[in-house]
């Protein structure tokens, strides 16, 4: 019986393997990227010691015109080696976790035990600190090459390394019951790229609390050997799985045109699979979250569809989504190429769609970070801002314009409004600019780099119209996918597609708009100032000369002079549309070029100005107070009555409750 069962399981297992392997193909016919950093890694996980032992071969091409005698590696895992690392010094609290109380076994590090070049010569290496003078920081490794590396030459390095995982911290590590999330877990080549001035240099920033990653494109071939009990998920696609005699299993993953490789292992993952066109979707989710697994998968399918329609095709045939168990939540909400992590909770309510929203956010990073691989460390807005913008667009397209994010008993919010409010609710709107490296910001980066950028893009989309905006983004994506664009590259594409349109539509200067939004702390706040009606009387007094002189009594003509003052309370300069509604039902449309602090509009005629609406379609979404953009001279105060009555009712209820207690 037991034998029969074993045979049955084996058959099912083989069938399952064949089926799952058939679902993704990691090999592209033609390379999408320059593929100058390629890795072959063979590793063994010792889950008891929370350690991996690995061999790594790096094949790296010098794409610069410079001759190099040094190679640099990210060793970001060493951020969690002690309290002296630059990462740890830049924060003593990560996601509410007090890291000062760590015990000896909960730290993590990475160490190279052997390093040789293609001639077999062993190479010298040392830790360097290009970002600061913190000699204790070991997040960047410099390897002295024995032979000079000429332009277009290929460097082959072979190494052995050991990595100890920390207890979950900042998106990586282990948690109880053998949960593992591996990110920044191997020595990864730093890119040697152009600086803003066009010269070439290592881009090797030390690990910092406020920045993520920037790396070269290449192929990853990773063989992971673990205990058989583990369910794995990784960047790339599973090509084969071989059971070993020592109760372990070796899983072979391959991914092409990726900038990084992350993976996870946990014995209690449930696997949910789905297919969207050519994309095999695999969700790893703990059993207790399975009830909303389908929600997460649908969110990603919606994203795939939206991106294909509005930005460009997802070229990979695979995507792994991870919903970490609660004990490993600190490893969630992060993006790696073809591998994204979200986060949820048992019995998550269906009317709060933050779990979908976050998954969509991480998926959007496949486009902005994964493919359009801008430098997150130096110009985070190019990925985080764009991603937040698309997260909002997708949520509103598929989950409702007014209530995409949540609807709790009628109190609802859509994503773009929620995002905008993250920015507009700042105490100091002018603390930071968008376009600066994370380590330079004085305050929280989320409201500015994520939210203000997304609101700026939302403004641009509304001003240009969806069609023109999409055209611009499609071209930006096509031109810069599998490359490393900088801010100027986005400006160039935006200029190419939108400058004339915005100029002809509103007399608007796109460069000025981008510059003010991204590089200054200016804010925009239009306001309807004074609205005055002055009755016009006929001529009053003596008119004419000598015998023709005549006294005329000034009489009411029934005409009025309506004076409206439009103000800009901030210092942002942008043209704006204004509608003036008259008593007789006529509407006068004007555009103010937005220069200066205010502009008066004067209308004369038998009808008074009844109401004024600045930017009636709310295109300038970046305006920090939309309530003062309109003015009714005879407002209906029903809403005020409604909310005052509600307030009185709830005050009475509060009094009742107090009365009940005593």
């Amino acid at each position: 019986m037991r034998l029969a069962l074993n045979i049955l399981f084996l058959t099912v297992g083989i069938l399952f393997q064949i089926e799952s392997f058939a679902q993704c193909d990691p090999y592209f016919k033609n390379p999408h990227s320059i593929r100058n950093a390629n890795y072959e890694i063979n590793l063994q996980l010792d889950h008891e010691k929370k350690k991996i032992l690995a061999t790594e071969q790096l094949i790296w091409i010098n794409t610069s015109p410079d001759t190099l005698n040094e190679m640099r590696f990210y060793m970001y895992l060493n951020s969690f080696k002690n309290m002296e690392s630059t990462f740890m010094k830049s924060a003593n609290n990560i996601f509410g976790q007090d890291i000062t109380k760590r015990t000896s076994d909960t730290w993590g590090w990475i160490d190279i035990t052997k390093l040789i070049d293609s001639n077999g010569s062993s190479l010298e290496y040392r830790y360097i600190q290009p970002s600061d003078d913190n000699t204790e920081d070991q997040s960047i490794l410099s390897v002295a090459l024995k032979e000079e590396l000429l332009p277009n030459d290929t460097l082959i390095l072979n190494m052995n390394f050991e990595a100890k995982m920390p207890k979950t911290i900042a998106r990586m590590g282990y948690a109880k019951d053998d949960f593992f999330m591996f990110v920044h877990w191997f020595p990864q080549a730093c890119p040697y790229v152009t600086k803003a001035d066009g010269t070439w240099a290592w881009n090797s920033h030390q690990a910092h609390r406020r920045t993520e990653f920037f790396a070269d494109f290449g192929n990853y071939d990773v063989k992971i050997t673990t205990d058989k009990k583990f369910i794995l998920g990784a960047s790339g696609c599973l090509v084969s799985q071989i059971e070993n005699s020592d109760n372990t299993i070796t899983s072979h993953y391959h991914g092409e045109d990726l900038i990084d490789f992350a993976w996870t292992a946990y014995p209690s993952y449930e696997v949910m699979e789905d297919q969207w066109k050519h994309v095999y979707i695999r969700l790893l989710i703990p059993g207790e979250h399975c009830t909303h697994g389908q929600r997460l998968i649908q969110a990603v399918k919606n994203s795939l569809e939206y991106f294909e329609k509005h930005v460009g095709e997802y070229p990979y045939t695979y995507l792994t989504m991870v919903d970490p168990p609660m004990k490993g939540l600190r490893s969630g909400f992060m993006e790696y190429p073809t591998f994204i992590t979200g986060g949820s909770f048992y019995a998550w309510p269906s009317n709060i769609r933050s779990i979908e929203s976050l998954m969509i956010h991480e998926f959007s990073h496949q486009y902005f970070m994964g493919m359009v691989a801008s430098n997150e460390k130096e110009e985070a807005w190019l990925d985080e801002g764009f991603v937040t913008f698309y997260e909002d667009c997708i949520m509103e397209e598929y989950y409702g314009k007014d209530q995409s994010l949540f609807n709790i008993c009628g109190y609802a919010a859509n994503n773009s409004s929620f995002t905008r409010n993250e920015y507009t609710s700042l105490d100091n709107l002018s603390l930071d600019i968008i376009n600066q490296p994370g380590w330079k910001s004085k305050g929280d980066t989320k409201p500015i780099v994520y939210a203000k950028t997304a609101t700026m893009l939302q403004t641009l989309k509304r001003l240009a119209g969806e069609e023109a905006f999409d055209k611009m983004m499609k071209n930006y994506f096509n031109r810069w996918k599998f490359k490393h664009p900088k801010s100027q590259d986005f400006y160039a594409v935006a200029n190419e597609y939108l400058t004339d349109l915005l100029e002809s539509k509103y007399g608007m200067d796109l460069n000025s708009f981008l510059d003010q939004s991204l590089n200054t702390t200016r804010y925009c706040d239009f306001k309807v100032g004074q609205l005055r009606h002055i009755p016009i009387k006929s001529k009053h007094g003596w008119f004419g000369n000598q015998d023709k002189i005549k006294y005329q009594e000034g009489k009411k003509t029934g005409h009025f002079l309506s004076k409206v003052r439009i103000e800009q309370l901030g210092t942002f300069e942008i043209p704006v549309e204004i509608e003036f509604y008259l008593d007789n039902g006529n509407v006068i449309k004007e555009i103010w070029n937005g220069k200066g602090r205010s502009k008066d509009f004067v209308f004369e005629g038998p009808s008074k100005v009844k109401s004024v609406h600045i930017d009636p379609e709310q295109k300038i979404f970046i305006d920090v107070d939309l309530n003062n953009n309109s003015y009714f001279s005879n407002p209906i105060d029903l809403s005020i009555k409604k909310y005052s009555a509600k307030a009185i009712y709830w005050f009475q209820n509060a009094l009742q409750t107090v009365g009940f207690l005593f």
């Binding site: 019995a347 009628g410 609710s425 107070d625 407002p635 009555k641 207690l661």
Partner: protein, 285 residues
Amino acid sequence: MIKIFIKSIKNGFRFKMIGLIIYTVQLLLALTLGIQIYQVMDASIGNSAGLSNLLEQFNYTTFNDFLNVHGASISPIFGQLRYLLLVYAVFSIFLNAGSLGCIILNENSWSSFWSNAARYFFAFSKIALFFLIIFFFISALIWIPILSSFEAAMEYFYTEKPYVWILILAFPLYFLLLSFIFLWSVHSRISIIREDLNVIFGLKNGLFKTKKYFWKSLLVLFMFALVMFFGTFIYLWANKTVGMVSGWTILIFILLQQAIIYLRILWRFMIYKSIDNISEGNHEN
């Protein structure tokens, strides 16, 4: 039990004039804040088109722009609410003394309301203080360990599921304990009124009666809670399906809200009456 429930409802309505005193006091206090809300909204966004967004349904942007820009005018009102609740807490001891005195002694006039209020105020203040301490003690006992052990629970359990269930089950337990101290408090006060006991003996007698009639009283409390839930449900349902979206509906809802508040006061009288009936069922009709 149903008999006591129905009898208490009838009896509660008999004290409608006394209920009116409490209602008026509460309305005046709530109005002082409500009028300020009206004034702040009128002065800040009173002329804005944003207001029409708020009439048919809630609008996140209008609401938050209002809070972001005019929050400084709104927050003092909520600051006042805190003090108001504190002052009212003391005053409600007085009002409850008056109403409970009348209900138990079956005196249904404004003059006896005021004289009972004055007569029992000090004794009931001591009782309120005693139960306030117990209330905080019970709340701390239940919620501090549960809320502070989230991290530890994640380390201890395999998933967050047990923690969620502990959290869910803590609510009935908490309400059970609160019901117990509420019944104890009412029984003690009734004892003081009925048997002219001092506070210590009142509490002792109250505890004895609470224990003796606990499940019976709890059932009646539960029935009244159901009435309240039903009322709240109807209100929320009406709010959702009709809503305060026009001049007429706003007027109708204001009347409905005030009716609910007034009925909530009588509802409390009914609860007092039923608790009294359970323990002293034979004293009166």
